[in-house]
């Protein structure tokens, strides 16, 4: 195992180096750390209380009580934590970017659904306020939607970046 400072953890076949400023290694590092901080924080607040988290997921009215819901309540916080740690260390950056892309798309969809429900009963969009069960307490829905959209974009950039630096890499020894 060695820390790669100059060479990137890009898979064979990837273009070395991107031209867009967003693919600047330092920008990518900052994006990784921001996303990691958010998801590690969120995970820590959910780990160890699966029953309460199951109720929070259930409140979205998408998954009913049953084994799938409980498995989600047990695994989801750990998935977030592992993705966060992966982004910090640089191990499997693209894999966790892909997972977070999927998770955020899902979060956006269910929060949008719940928000639409509130609008349907006549609550003005800007005043919709609820606890999304994300681990950060109650918040305005518009802020939450904006935040999640931002995380979605960051995850997409990390996934698409041709080169990541400051990453721990496992390499087979060449003999």
């Amino acid at each position: 195992m060695k820390i790669m400072w100059s060479q990137g953890a890009h898979p064979p076949g990837a273009r070395p180096g991107g031209s867009h400023w967003i693919y600047n290694p330092f920008v990518l590092l900052v994006l990784r750390l921001v996303l990691a901080a958010v998801f590690i924080y969120a995970a820590v607040h959910k780990i160890g209380r699966p029953l309460a988290f199951a109720d929070e997921i259930h409140a979205y009215g998408v998954v009913d009580y049953g084994p799938p819901l409980y498995v989600m309540a047990i695994v989801l916080p750990w998935l977030e934590l592992l993705c966060g740690l992966s982004l910090v260390t640089g191990v499997f950056i693209r894999g966790s970017a892909l997972v977070l892309l999927g998770l955020n798309a899902m979060f956006l969809a269910v929060i949008a659904k719940k928000t639409a429900g509130f609008m349907h009963i006549g609550t003005p969009f800007m005043k919709i306020y609820f606890d999304c069960g994300c681990g950060f307490g109650a918040a305005f829905a518009w802020k939450k939607l904006l935040e999640d959209a931002l995380y979605l974009v960051i995850a997409a950039v990390l996934l698409a970046a041709p080169l990541h630096r400051f990453a721990i890499q496992f390499r087979r020894r060449s003999s």
Binding site: A14, P50, D55, G66, A73, I74, W78, A97, L98, V99
Partner: protein, 165 residues
């Protein structure tokens, strides 16, 4: 395309790791749950009947006061800070979001044939009902949920107890 393929493989590894770590932690945790166990079907009555019957009953302010006066054990499902700021006299703290911390201590003082009353902050909080369901699944089947919570109790000028600091 190769990037996506390697990302997909990595994602599968991360997912598998989360499954393993999550279930291991869940098995060892005091708050762990059995995902295959269908939760006990809890009979929730919308209108309250008298205390002492099976199931979870919603209690009004009057019924809550009577329950407290007749010595029914009371559980406060809120956070410790809220509890310390003021609670129904003799209520025991059992933070719903930190069950592991208080569960053993509180449950040791209860018996399953007793009627138990649970409350949280106010009408809009669900923690008292969630906690009642949890207690029901643990075998405490005679439960009262005081929906008005501490807000209604203190607004009615009923006695409040504060924790010594």
């Amino acid at each position: 395309m190769k990037i996506l393929k390697s990302a997909l493989l990595q994602a599968i590894v991360i997912l598998a790791a989360a499954l393993v770590v999550g279930f291991t932690f869940n098995a060892l945790s005091r708050n762990g749950i059995n995902p295959l166990k269908t939760p006990a079907k809890v009979p929730v009555a919308a209108d309250s009947t008298q205390a002492g019957a099976e199931g979870i009953k919603i209690a009004t302010l009057d019924e809550a006061r009577q329950a407290v006066e007749s010595g029914v054990p009371v559980i406060d499902a809120r956070r410790k800070a809220d509890y310390d700021d003021g609670h129904i006299p003799k209520a025991m703290l059992l933070d719903y979001y930190d069950m592991g911390m208080y569960k053993d201590q509180v449950l040791a003082r209860l018996s399953s044939d007793q009627t138990i009353m649970v409350y949280c902050s106010e009408l809009s909080c669900d923690d008292s009902e969630l906690l009642a369901k949890e207690l029901y699944s643990l075998g405490f089947t005679k439960l009262l949920v005081f929906k008005g919570g501490f807000a209604e109790w203190s607004a009615a000028g009923l006695p409040v107890e504060r924790s010594a600091r």
